[in-house]
Each structure stands twice: as structure tokens, then as C-alpha cells.
């Protein structure tokens, strides 16, 4: 109990620090959003129109920095992220909600898949270390993880989309379709997600395989594994219930963190495959000095990662009694 309370307390403190940094960092950038907008459309925009835009954007506030900060904290608590400047007058919440489900779907599911597959392969590779699987699969996937994502993505497009024409090369669904929860649409979405997901998988699975394999190898040297073997338990039972259960614990925190970072989007995926998502949106927000959108996205990433770490810590505490008795 004390453990849980301590963890939650630490979480709140880190959250507050992140929120404060999140407030000040964008304001340290040069320029102001109304000017950025004026520059984007260099036409006969009159000084009065510019002034009116600045007022609408809230750039010309009389409030000092401290007042703005207090307002900001209050808004965060109520979930009011304001109006986007790049997508003016759209609200930030709506802008993010348009893209976030795609990011969560593609990147989230692929991360989970990569983790499951990677740990699975790592377990078997460690169990049969030195064998054929172990000699081939981990090295191959470690190499593929080192290849830049965009190259893998473009190669897949070239082979599977252009030459073989098995899969589409862009977008989340065929642009002439209307989104809806019907089988035809869902199949279309899966079809469009296949190549980006495959590219993501190829480039991220290597880490999971390697770390799992290495922790497994250490665990397999433990006495209780030897004891289980001596007792005559079937190999599969020892591999999973004894060794893997203990070996997976370090990976859990890593997995939780990468799940947290999923909401940061995968900017290269979105660029190469023209896939909707929050990664490219964040890039645009930064380059256009869209403070509200930037802040909301940074906040989303920070909170997601912090929550994920908190949950990972709690999960580790539940799964591994040794960490509970530390105090």
C-alpha cells in the first residue's frame, strides 16, 4: 500500500513538472503565430486584419506570463485545450481526435504485435540457443531494426504496391469510401494498414527479440530452472512458466514506455504512407508555431508515458513479489 502511494505521489510530481515545462518551452520559440499566418499567405492582408487575427489568436493578451500559466493549468484540468491556430478555428481537441484513432490503431496495435512476436521469438531462440533458429532470426531482425524506417517503407511500396499491386500505397482507407462500421470498410482499412504495419514491425521487432533472448539466457542459468528440469517437467512448461515469466519483467517497463510513446505518432509512417496520424501533425504544429496544438500534443505524450510507467511499475509489483518487499 505504501508502495502504491509513493508511486502515485511521484507520478503527480513528475506530471506537474512536465506540465510546467510544456507551458514554457513553446513560448521560448521566436516569432508569433499571427505573423506565421501572415507569412503563409503573403497577400494584401491589411494591418487591421492582422491585428484582428492576433486578437482572435489570443497573442495580444494583457495577461502576464504568470496569469497565463494559472489559466493553462486550469484548462488542462478541465480538458479545454483551446483553439488551434494552424487549423483555426477548429478546436484542438477535434483536430487531435481526427488523427489520434489512426495512430492508436496502427502504431499501437503494431507495437503490441511486435512485442508479442518479438518476445515469443526471443524465448524460443534462448531456449534453443545455438540452434538454427537462434543463429538466423535474431541477427536478421537486429539488422532490419537498424535500417531506416522510410527506406523499408519505400521498398515495400515499390515491391508490393507498385510492381505486384497487392496492397495500396497510401492513405488509411480508399479516399472515395465513407467511413463506417461495415465489413467492407474494415477490410479496406486493414488492407491499407498492412504495409505500414509490416514496415513498423520489421524495424522494431529486433529490439524485443534481443532483449528477451538475453534476459532468458540469464534466467535459464538459474537454480530453479535446473530444479524444474530435474523434477522432470515438460520443456514447454519450464520455458514458459518458469523462465519466461521471470525474464519478461525487465521488458515490461520498456514495453509500457513504448506504448506511451505510441501517442507521439510515427512521423515517418505518416509521411511515407500518407497515413493520417498525430506525428506529422505535431511537426506541422511546431513549424507553424501553433502553441495550443503543440502543447496539447506534448501533454498527451508526456501523460501517456507517465501513466504507462506507473502502470508498468504496479504490474511489476504484482508479478514480482521481490519488488514489493523493498521497503
Amino acid at each position: 500500500m505504501r508502495f502504491a502511494l509513493r508511486r502515485v505521489g511521484f507520478f503527480v510530481l513528475t506530471l506537474w513538472a512536465a506540465l510546467t515545462l510544456n507551458f514554457f518551452l513553446p513560448r521560448l520559440m521566436p516569432g508569433n503565430p499571427a505573423e506565421a499566418m501572415l507569412g503563409k499567405f503573403r497577400g494584401p492582408v491589411s494591418p487591421q486584419a492582422l491585428k484582428a487575427l492576433e486578437v482572435a489568436f489570443g497573442v495580444e493578451t494583457k495577461e502576464g506570463l504568470a496569469g497565463q500559466y494559472v489559466h493553462y493549468l486550469g484548462n488542462v484540468a478541465t480538458g479545454n485545450f483551446g483553439t488551434s491556430l494552424y487549423f483555426y478555428p477548429q478546436s484542438v481537441g477535434r483536430v487531435i481526435l481526427d488523427a489520434l484513432p489512426w495512430t492508436l490503431g496502427l502504431v499501437g496495435l503494431t507495437t503490441i504485435l511486435a512485442f508479442l512476436l518479438g518476445t515469443g521469438i526471443g524465448i524460443v531462440a534462448a531456449w534453443r540457443r545455438g540452434g538454427r533458429l537462434d543463429s538466423v532470426v535474431p541477427p536478421v531482425f537486429v539488422i532490419t531494426s537498424a535500417i531506416p524506417y522510410f527506406w523499408v517503407g519505400m521498398m515495400l511500396i515499390l515491391v508490393f504496391a507498385e510492381q505486384l499491386q497487392w496492397f495500396p500505397a497510401a492513405f488509411a482507407y480508399n479516399v472515395s469510401l465513407t467511413p463506417g462500421f461495415n465489413p467492407a470498410f474494415i477490410v479496406n482499412v486493414v488492407e491499407h494498414a498492412f504495409l505500414p504495419a509490416l514496415a513498423l514491425l520489421i524495424t522494431t521487432i529486433g529490439t524485443w527479440i534481443l532483449t528477451m533472448r538475453n534476459t532468458m539466457v540469464t534466467t535459464l542459468a538459474e537454480d530453479y530452472v535446473r530444479m524444474a528440469r530435474a523434477k522432470g517437467l515438460p520443456s514447454r512448461r519450464i520455458m514458459f512458466d518458469y523462465a519466461a515469466r521471470n525474464a519478461i519483467l525487465p521488458n515490461l517497463t520498456g514495453f509500457a514506455m513504448s506504448l506511451g510513446f505510441v501517442v507521439g505518432g510515427a512521423i515517418l509512417v505518416e509521411y511515407v504512407f500518407n497515413y493520417p496520424g498525430v506525428g506529422y501533425m505535431l511537426l506541422q504544429a511546431v513549424s507553424q508555431e501553433d502553441y495550443p496544438l503543440m502543447q496539447a500534443l506534448f501533454l498527451l505524450i508526456t501523460v501517456a508515458v507517465l501513466v504507462a510507467i506507473l502502470l508498468a511499475d504496479i504490474a511489476t509489483a504484482i508479478l514480482d513479489p521481490r519488488t514489493r518487499t523493498a521497503d
Partner: protein
């Protein structure tokens, strides 16, 4: 482990089956009754659509003006500002060009079935007066009143401003009073389901694609012939260019490198044309003590091989500019040839002349190869947008050309906001930038030379970033608006070109073009070089509406 393996294999198999059986992806919707009536546009917008269509918001006007909303008249940049009736059937200036009366067309309906009248026009303009942030073309800087007189709209001006006809008649979307009068804050109004008089309505709009459908109430019978237009949201140029190359999109607004190899050769029906409309120029900061000297600027203009900049930097797509500032061949009719000849054929490439001008001004080449006078070197930084790879390449060519005559420039490639902010605020020595121009050379010349467009150093200027100020030039610029007589207008443009040739306040290098690719296999009626009835870029408003109205299935 085996269970997981089997699951994965099964999953992949299902996907493959779905993919193979799931039909083709790609935008063609052929109707059985002959001819494809669905067109897809490829224009990289860089972000998902927010589905806002407010025509007074600079971010979204290009999505609705011309297709959903219509203006009073159509002014064609490519045909010397030829004006044709659109929502107004005719118009006339009166009272010494201080009154402009539009006669409205009969029988026009809004897409919700209600009739459009002159009252809607009056309402639209008074809306712009009430909410300054909506007046993106500053029409109320010259208007004094807009009133209704039966089926006519009478506009009165503070003083004659004939050059504002383009902004008033071509660039203002007419919106329905019965909807917009109920909006409490039109500046923030997203206009998700726009109701206009135009040939298309939006149905539906998703973050990935806008589908325009033909408006059943449209006032031109039988039009538009293209029933569906898809406008996908491309975030990357690669995908947009691929769609054009393999025919999934038929109308493009893209910069395609090596266009012969990557687009034209893919199909005999792939064509392109890049009509020049304005200039990309070097803006010298005229408050800089060295750049104040016109001789230095003249030398720079002679020293730059603009043809080579165009070839190397822009793949030859953007023709070389000339110092008069008149864009050719689009506005060749405005060029004063005798004046051009007098000034070295509009400052044609002549590095030896550049050196002699500098020497005559008292400059001598130092031991480091850089010209200097009284201990002051001709060494400057030039600000550029690092994200525009073609501009970066162009400035590199400029750098080497200027080095050959002893002028050292160091490019500083900045990210967009820093670059834009520095240029607008006058915090640069040299800057590479462009103005937007307009339907005659006057508009760009005014953007460059009118002191009212400029601002003090440290304040953002709308244009005239070099901070040029000359009262006689201002008076000349203001006089253009007084007359509708083309001869007088040509005279004024000649005199403004003379300012460009004598003072060299800005150095145009290449001519910025409208990016345009089109595929003739499914559709006829495209804008071509021999038939430039509108500016053909799909992002150019309201011209893209005109183009869509001219298209028909083959």
C-alpha cells in the same frame, strides 16, 4: 509458441485474401452511361483536412471559392485581366470611377434551394466591413458604401480605385444572408456544410478526402459535367506525385522533379504547363548603408545569370525574370521594349558590366577577391527558406554568380517561421522571397514599391519588404486606380518598370509559376497554353471552379 505461429499465419492469410479479393483501390468511378465523371485532384496540402470551408479564412478559401461559392465576376490573370460575368451579369463604372454598379443575374439559387438576390451581395460586403478579420483583401480600405438598388448592387468609393476591381469582384465569395446573419461569430465560423451558389456542394468531407458533388440547383443548365471531384489530403509530395504518374489523379498542382522521366513518359495522356505569374526575387534591405547605393544593386542584377538559376535551381520550370518586373510571356503585352533596350535589355546577364559599374562607383577588388570601398566589403548574408530545396539550389547559383564579380553572399537557410518573421520585420541584409502578384503587372509592382505596404524595421510589413519609399512612386501607384483606360494603365506600368530599372529596389531572378499537370484520357476541356481561359493550378481560386465547369468526360 506454435499456437501463436499458426495464428499469425492465419491472420496474414486472411489479409492476403481480403487484399486480393477486395477489389481495386484507386479513384475511378465510371458510370455505365459512357465516360468517367469522377475526377481526382493531386495537390499536396501538407495536413489532414479540417473540413472548414469558411471563404473568408485564408487557410480554407482555396477549398470553396470557385466551386462552392462564386464571386461577382471572373478576372483572368492569363488573359490580361479579362473580366467575364459570373454572378453579376454586367457592371459599369460611373461618377468618375467613384461608383461601381453590378447588375445581378436572375434565376440563381443557393444550394439549399432559396433564391440568391442582390441583398445577399450587399450583406456579404457589409459583413466584411463589420468584421475586419474577414476582410482579407482590404476592400474596405477603398470602399465607402455598398447598397442595393433593385437587382443591382451599388458600390461607392472614397476615391477611384479601379485596380481593386480584381479584389472586389473576383476574390470575394458571395455568401447567403439567410445563413450568415444567424452566425454570432463569423470569424470563428467553421462553415462545415457550406451553402453557396456554385457548381458543387461538399458531401462528404473526411480528414482524408473532400468529395465535391454536383449541385442540383446550379444556375448553368447541364453543368457541371464532372459530377464528382475528389480532393484527397496529401501530406507528402511523393504520394501526390505517384498518384499523378499512375493516373489515379488526373489534375495536379505539383512540383515534379525531372517531370519528363517521372510523369510525362508514364502515359501519352500526361501533360503539363507552368504559366508564370509572379517573380521570385532578391530583396535587398534598403536601410543597409552599403545596399542603399543603387550602383551595388545594379551590379548585382547584371551579375546574376538568371537563365542558369532557372535551369539548375528550378529544372527550367520557372523562366528567367527580367529587371523590369513584368512577367513574360504572360504579360508580354505590357513590356516597353525601347525602355528594356535602354537598360541593357532589362539587365541581361553581363558580368563585365557589373564589374565596371562597381569600379565606376569607387569599388576595388581586395586581395581576397571581394570588392571593397573605404574599408567596407561587399559581403552579405542572404536569408532563404531551407525547406524549399529548389530555392536553396537557386541561391547557390546566385552565390557563385555574384562571387565572380567580387560580391560575397553567404546563404542562411532558415526554417519557415524564422525566415518569414525575419523578412516581414526587415531583419535581413538580403532575402530570397516572392510576392503574390495579380492579374496585371501593376499588382506585383505595387506590392514591391508602395510605401504604404511596408513598415518600420522591427514591424511586420505586408509586402515591400525591402522598405522602398518614394513619394513620386506612391503618387504614380495611386493614380492607376483612377482610370479604366488601358493606354493610361500601360503608361503607368511603364513608369513603374522604369523605377525597377533605374533604382533596382528588388532583383527578380526567376518567375514563379502555377503548377499544373493534367491527364487527357478521361477528360476534355483542359486549360492549355493555346487556350488559357483560367489559371489552371488546382489551388488557384476562383479559377479552379472555371476549369471544372469547362471539363467534360471524353
Amino acid at each position: 509458441m506454435r499456437r501463436i505461429k499458426i495464428l499469425v499465419v492465419l491472420f496474414a492469410a486472411c489479409l492476403l485474401a481480403a487484399a486480393c479479393g477486395g477489389g481495386s483501390s484507386g479513384g475511378g468511378g465510371s458510370s455505365a452511361s459512357g465516360g468517367n465523371t469522377t475526377l481526382t485532384i493531386s495537390n499536396e496540402s501538407g495536413a489532414l483536412w479540417t473540413c472548414n470551408f469558411n471563404p473568408f479564412n485564408l487557410s480554407y478559401i482555396f477549398l470553396s471559392l470557385g466551386t462552392v461559392y462564386e464571386p461577382l465576376a471572373f478576372v483572368n490573370t492569363l488573359q490580361n485581366a479579362k473580366a467575364t460575368p459570373w454572378l453579376a451579369s454586367s457592371w459599369a463604372y460611373g461618377n468618375g470611377n467613384k461608383t461601381l454598379t453590378f447588375t445581378m443575374r436572375n434565376g440563381v439559387k443557393w444550394s439549399d434551394g432559396k433564391p440568391m438576390t442582390a441583398a445577399d451581395v450587399v450583406f456579404t460586403f457589409n459583413l466584411l466591413k463589420k468584421y475586419k478579420a474577414l476582410d482579407i483583401n482590404s476592400v474596405w480600405s477603398v470602399l465607402s458604401g455598398v447598397t442595393q438598388n433593385g437587382n443591382q448592387v451599388v458600390m461607392t468609393f472614397k476615391k477611384p480605385a479601379v485596380n481593386y476591381f480584381y479584389y472586389i469582384a473576383d476574390q470575394v465569395a458571395i455568401v447567403p444572408q439567410h445563413i450568415w446573419s444567424t452566425i454570432s461569430d463569423p470569424v470563428k465560423y467553421p462553415d462545415l456544410h457550406p451553402v453557396g451558389t456554385g457548381p458543387y456542394t461538399v458531401s462528404p468531407c473526411t480528414p482524408q478526402n473532400i468529395t465535391y458533388k454536383a449541385n442540383p440547383h446550379y444556375w448553368q443548365p447541364g453543368k457541371p459535367k464532372i459530377k464528382t471531384v475528389n480532393y484527397p489530403a496529401f501530406t507528402s509530395n511523393d504520394t501526390a506525385n505517384t498518384y499523378l504518374a499512375n493516373g489515379q489523379a488526373q489534375w495536379g498542382g505539383q512540383f515534379i522533379p525531372s517531370i519528363q522521366k517521372y510523369y510525362v513518359s508514364k502515359s501519352p495522356d500526361n501533360h503539363y504547363w507552368f504559366p508564370p505569374v509572379a517573380n521570385v526575387s532578391i530583396f535587398p534591405n534598403l536601410t543597409n548603408p552599403i545596399l542603399k547605393d543603387p550602383a551595388v544593386r545594379q551590379a548585382m542584377s547584371y551579375a546574376i545569370n538568371k537563365q542558369r538559376v532557372s535551369q539548375i535551381g528550378e529544372y527550367g520550370y520557372e523562366p528567367a525574370s527580367n529587371q523590369s518586373g513584368v512577367v513574360t510571356p504572360t504579360f508580354s503585352a505590357w513590356m516597353d521594349q525601347s525602355q528594356a533596350t535602354q537598360y541593357g535589355n532589362n539587365y541581361a546577364y553581363n558580368p563585365s558590366k557589373a564589374i565596371s559599374i562597381l569600379k565606376a562607383d569607387g569599388y576595388t577588388k581586395g586581395s581576397d577577391g571581394i570588392m571593397q570601398k573605404n574599408g567596407q566589403k561587399l559581403s552579405f548574408t542572404i536569408l532563404n527558406n531551407g525547406g524549399y530545396s529548389d530555392w536553396v539550389a537557386s541561391v547557390n547559383v546566385i552565390q557563385s554568380d555574384l562571387k565572380a564579380v567580387g560580391i560575397q553572399v553567404t546563404p542562411k537557410n532558415l526554417a519557415y517561421p524564422a525566415w518569414s518573421s525575419a523578412v516581414l520585420n526587415g531583419q535581413f541584409q538580403l532575402a530570397y522571397y516572392s510576392e503574390t502578384g495579380g492579374p496585371t503587372p501593376y499588382y506585383e509592382l505595387r506590392q514591391w514599391l508602395y510605401s504604404g505596404n511596408s513598415a518600420k524595421i522591427g514591424q511586420p510589413a505586408g509586402s515591400n519588404f525591402e522598405r522602398y519609399s518614394n513619394p513620386q512612386t506612391d503618387a504614380l501607384i495611386n493614380s492607376y486606380g483612377n482610370t479604366t483606360d488601358p493606354a493610361k494603365q500601360h503608361q503607368i506600368v511603364n513608369e513603374l518598370s522604369l523605377v525597377m530599372l533605374k533604382d533596382v529596389p528588388v532583383i527578380p531572378v526567376t518567375e514563379s509559376v502555377s503548377w499544373y499537370q493534367y491527364n487527357t484520357s478521361s477528360f476534355n476541356g483542359w486549360v492549355t497554353q493555346s487556350n488559357p481561359y483560367a489559371d489552371p493550378a488546382p489551388y488557384y481560386y476562383p479559377d479552379w471552379g472555371q476549369l471544372l465547369l469547362h471539363l467534360s468526360p471524353t
